[in-house]
Subunit: 238 residues, 6 copies
Amino acid sequence: MRPSGRKTDQMRAVSFERNVSKHAEGSCLVKFGDTHVLCTASLEDKTPPWLRNSGKGWVTAEYGMLPRATGERMKREAASGKQSGRTQEIQRLIGRSLRAVVDLGALGERQISIDCDVIQADGGTRTAAITGAWIALHDCLKWMEARSMVKVEKVLKDHIAAVSCGIFANQPVIDLDYLEDSAAETDANFVMTGAGGIVEIQGTAEGKPFSQDEFLTLLGLARNGIDELVSMQKTAIG
Amino acid sequence: MRPSGRKTDQMRAVSFERNVSKHAEGSCLVKFGDTHVLCTASLEDKTPPWLRNSGKGWVTAEYGMLPRATGERMKREAASGKQSGRTQEIQRLIGRSLRAVVDLGALGERQISIDCDVIQADGGTRTAAITGAWIALHDCLKWMEARSMVKVEKVLKDHIAAVSCGIFANQPVIDLDYLEDSAAETDANFVMTGAGGIVEIQGTAEGKPFSQDEFLTLLGLARNGIDELVSMQKTAIG
Amino acid sequence: MRPSGRKTDQMRAVSFERNVSKHAEGSCLVKFGDTHVLCTASLEDKTPPWLRNSGKGWVTAEYGMLPRATGERMKREAASGKQSGRTQEIQRLIGRSLRAVVDLGALGERQISIDCDVIQADGGTRTAAITGAWIALHDCLKWMEARSMVKVEKVLKDHIAAVSCGIFANQPVIDLDYLEDSAAETDANFVMTGAGGIVEIQGTAEGKPFSQDEFLTLLGLARNGIDELVSMQKTAIG
Amino acid sequence: MRPSGRKTDQMRAVSFERNVSKHAEGSCLVKFGDTHVLCTASLEDKTPPWLRNSGKGWVTAEYGMLPRATGERMKREAASGKQSGRTQEIQRLIGRSLRAVVDLGALGERQISIDCDVIQADGGTRTAAITGAWIALHDCLKWMEARSMVKVEKVLKDHIAAVSCGIFANQPVIDLDYLEDSAAETDANFVMTGAGGIVEIQGTAEGKPFSQDEFLTLLGLARNGIDELVSMQKTAIG
Amino acid sequence: MRPSGRKTDQMRAVSFERNVSKHAEGSCLVKFGDTHVLCTASLEDKTPPWLRNSGKGWVTAEYGMLPRATGERMKREAASGKQSGRTQEIQRLIGRSLRAVVDLGALGERQISIDCDVIQADGGTRTAAITGAWIALHDCLKWMEARSMVKVEKVLKDHIAAVSCGIFANQPVIDLDYLEDSAAETDANFVMTGAGGIVEIQGTAEGKPFSQDEFLTLLGLARNGIDELVSMQKTAIG
Amino acid sequence: MRPSGRKTDQMRAVSFERNVSKHAEGSCLVKFGDTHVLCTASLEDKTPPWLRNSGKGWVTAEYGMLPRATGERMKREAASGKQSGRTQEIQRLIGRSLRAVVDLGALGERQISIDCDVIQADGGTRTAAITGAWIALHDCLKWMEARSMVKVEKVLKDHIAAVSCGIFANQPVIDLDYLEDSAAETDANFVMTGAGGIVEIQGTAEGKPFSQDEFLTLLGLARNGIDELVSMQKTAIG
């Protein structure tokens, strides 16, 4: 039924490879099937201007795709001189999602920048990015803890993971790949904490509008998927 | 309880003033309380490059705020040389929402550009913009119908309206004004059709994560509010 | 003779609507016939870098047009990434004109930014903008006076108003609308004070060069028109 | 009285050096005292898009200053990524002034671009640029005439020259140098044809407003100066 | 002597991983020690404008670094809105180097874009990029050959590889890593063909000028290193 | 043999005109035949941010071409909104070359900016620029010495001059003009000190790769040419 042969509630093979960067304080190569995102966490010893002398720090994110991460080569954003609306939308989402589980006061007047660069894309890059970014952020905080800068459990209050769900061929399915994503009638992204709290919901009717019941089915699929992702994050950092 | 004294399920005073532009094919000044958005619809007799020779047209939207629409003057985007991520996110949302009820084939190879310019802001500019943009779009299609270019009912399949809901002071409330919006724990925007179909859902935890039940309460509030907005649209164009 | 049926020395209906913005310290919606410009004055409690520690303040202006203020939709400057030469020329003119009647020392180390946004255009947007901007500036200073920050009569030395004149169909006429403006052989903008002093003159031959006598006729027309505008300003703030 | 010791109606030493560029179809290094502007005319065998198939050509101008043309080094506009408002204002003025004496139909569907680059600045760069640009334009047309493309006298209907006048130390003076320009109360630029027709007038009160009589005195000074400049142009091309 | 303990004529461990991209027509992850560059080749079925109807194709390259490829996070070029001079210099070099061994006529009217993205940097990113880009280009041509579009040996006339050499601690050494690069007195990059022809030489004195003899020593080191790299390329594609 | 009739080892007529700018602390109009570059040195009493409190100063360079310096008019970089990769490459080269002979500590916390603007181009603009820039830099230091700010011989350790060599029609030749440059098989730029030390070598095969012997022949030609240029610099400042 699904192009990949997956069951409707079956996510792609997910993996986290930690410490993939020689330089970054935390890093993770996350794979959701053929979607590969390199997430690095960079610690800077200053907070943004609007937080100076507030005692608080900041966590921010940037997102990019390599030009040939996709089936057709896209124009390099650095060459075209600006980031697309889509890019900005995604990096704002990643930053917001991470900050939902961070105690910025416990972080202190520092900034952690998470770069999520899509090495290869096959649908669901933003949800993979959020899920992997959490690992990179965690490892950056571990690095800081090793230097007595913070206590990880004070700063990082919970897990964050994300998954997309959608209605494809009249079936609610989880973790859409590119083939599904480009044909889905409805596409929704869910970001939740380890405790099951909802942090972000973004649902869009691509074709005909969707009903509340359909939406609740997607939310249910997402909840199970995110539970699974959080378990895998726990194993990865265990 | 609410700064404005409104009840939790009470929207602000909403009004639509049509034909406010001497030049535009359709126009509407929409007010949600102190949030005032001028929506104009401009017909262009060509479709974007990627639709040429497809027989299909396009509906797109641009969004802007006058620099002193807000409590503190913001930098003029034309002067700073780029549109913010927030601006791009909103104009993409408006365009998507309108296209959800437009039959692009019935429109023919033409483009309608909806400009939503916030004259004065007091929270909820994007939802007011979508709701008013539908009127401007409708009136543009009427203008075209009067010239035998299209049949309105063939192109415009349904109403579209939008409203924000959120959790303010632990209470689910509808149609947040700026004071509520800046203090809300959860903020969600809903876009629905006249038939009650959901077109867009965007929910964000600003503070602590929200639960499924809280979200369903917000969705219920939104459904009632959007029903009301659609009635008012019907009266306005009646 | 004139497309509008006006006499050669007859301006369009002019009106000033004050306090149109909930947020701005001063605001005015000025109408010269179908040309409508929203002028807001924003007080900032710092002066530009080059005036720091000089004891002097600054008055500056920005100008913009909504994309569909005109007969054909224009590209949004924020989207195209820069302000046109015409926009910059006009906003420099507005700022210079206002500063000609302001005692920057009496203002103190503050900046007042006047935003002139053309809601609807039908010729003469820059002269309407200057004339309305003076009201917004005046009201901002009144706001400051009410808070004991300045004395209005110390800062604002005189009125400023502006009008265009031109040679249309071989006739010198005042306050050209778009139809006249686009067909005029000569087009001139005059900015004068309440006392009749000249602050700016900009005359351009669009077709054949003009003579000194023709120019003096235009100047005479402008003088009368500006006297009238200043009277109307006095009534408006009275 | 004047810093340079000149009489009030005395222009600086003016010279035109033709054919200073190996490549350009027409070129002129114009000097008004220490203000030196290199003007080149470049013929392109196509007209701008909006004139295609109109049978008409176009004359346009661009203006720039070398970074150290001035007393203090200015930021290079190419490096800062945009042309200032002042630059755009001046290049629009130069283009308009030249087009006032050109029969665009007689030019045919071609474009002549005049580049005016200020090698050294000492006040009055725009008026020197216009006066020198006319020579470059003339020589470009001569080059075309030699190739039987146009008849110079059909295309170029008259001379164009420009000079600044101002009120310095309460005295009306002509052709202000930098010292005078930066201290003048009133500053006006005049562009006229060989026949004495006025093409552009730009007068600005830098300090207190000026009167009609003062303005007429400046206009009289300008008229004499421009007569002189036109004579010198005639000698130069003679 | 060298921070890495390598001998003066010893390159770092070099490896080529082919087919690392699901989408690109050719791809290679090249590693020179801790310098890792992902090279993808993208075939487009059109040639740049200046080659249209010439029968010739084009090979071009773009270069980028992930923000945290380096010891300190660098600003993302897409966010800062332009590519640095260094980036442009390097991508021009890569493109030129590859074109030196390509018969553009045999390629036909197509363009191959090579993207070289530095995943991790430790000195020598441009030389690694050139060496890996050749593999990606080769594999793209193989892909085309499999579709009967070209003959590889007609298009690709030879190998291209590159290495840096420099004088570090008064010793000529090959393949400088970051520690050496930042302390080297002289730094030179060499690009050569499989047949030993020189395609590019770039030598720069960072501290004191260098002599012809020193330069010839570096050239000798480079020649041996490039011979080795070409052998490794042959093995990789063998 | 050569289009200009020059011998293979014969440079074009070279001249240096000093003090060509009324404003700059040092200036030189350098001519290599029909290539004319205006070099100005501007002293600023502050060092770049990264050198603050280091006791060191900085020498930097910017490069530009007037739009009609070339056979066909090029787009003005200030109008197109960015400097090309070629421009940035050249100005980085000029700055690096000059700094190779400057003791930045002896300069003190000041910056000297060298602007090299090509008034007319006929090949070899970068080498002419470097050679002339040295004169402008020298004269700026002399200006400073006259004000007891520095000792020239402490800051400026040696001469710097540059020349291009290439293989044209199978012959190694020096100082290529445009006709030769655009047809050369190999093109190399050499920057050397008065003492004969090499500061920069940039060699590029435009057509077929070159051999080490060919390269050494070019280097020999360059050495003689640069000796000559240094002698001429000595005469010029003598």
